[in-house]
Symmetry: C2
Subunit: 137 residues, 2 copies
């Protein structure tokens, strides 16, 4: 897959899958709403709840992977890197959207509103039965 195809696949998804390692050494994974902000293939911002299990896991071990999948086209992209949990004003404001008060009634400063910032170091594409590693420039 070309870089352009990888970015198009990512942007076409409404859901991202994110993985962490828990305190007992097991991988965990779940679906998330697609990232709100993406900077190339390097940085991705997601919203989450400050008191979620994922935040607790990433605070203990920031190693992470995110995955975007076109199930019908048998294509996927995994990015491997580190996840930070951010609650500073700048990060909160960067990805805040108007309707978010539905989930965070106190607004952009709601203590349960938290930003996940993923920074990729490398990746792997899956297309049919082929897979290929790539480095993030």
């Amino acid at each position: 897959m070309t870089r352009q195809e990888i970015e198009a696949l990512i942007d076409s998804r409404t859901v991202a899958y994110i993985a962490s390692v828990d305190g007992e050494g097991f991988p965990n994974l779940k679906a998330m709403l697609a990232p709100r902000v993406r900077e190339g293939l390097r940085t991705f911002y997601f919203t989450t709840n400050t008191h979620s299990m994922r935040v607790e896991q990433y605070r203990r071990d920031p190693k992470a992977a995110i995955y975007f999948c076109d199930e019908d086209g048998f294509r996927g992209v995994m990015l491997r890197g580190e996840m930070e949990t951010l609650t500073d004003a700048r990060s909160r404001e960067l990805i805040w959207r108007e309707g978010d008060t539905e989930y965070y009634p106190l607004g952009v400063t709601d203590p349960d509103y938290c930003v996940l910032r993923f920074t990729a170091r490398d990746g792997r594409t899956y297309a049919g039965y082929d897979s290929e590693n790539f480095v993030i420039a």
Copy 2:
């Protein structure tokens, strides 16, 4: 989610997401074809390639998670457990299907045909913004 709802969600999916931990301690995840055989919520059998990266990772560290997601319904089920890589005749025959010679030209004894058997210990359901742990009976 009830046990019945969890099983219905799993059986409705054509794709499963599986996670492992790699040699550098990073979680990895990818989409797989849905399990060929499921025994309750305890045991799941998948096909894979003997020389795949996933097999190598599970042989080093069998800790695993599998995840089924109904993206449109905002519901998901994660199961946490251990993954075995099996190449014995009984396991191979259990999940072999006629058309598989397309991928494994040498048939059920093809050295590149491998069975992944996942055994769950516990799980977590996600429905909307709620999540709940459960134990496998």
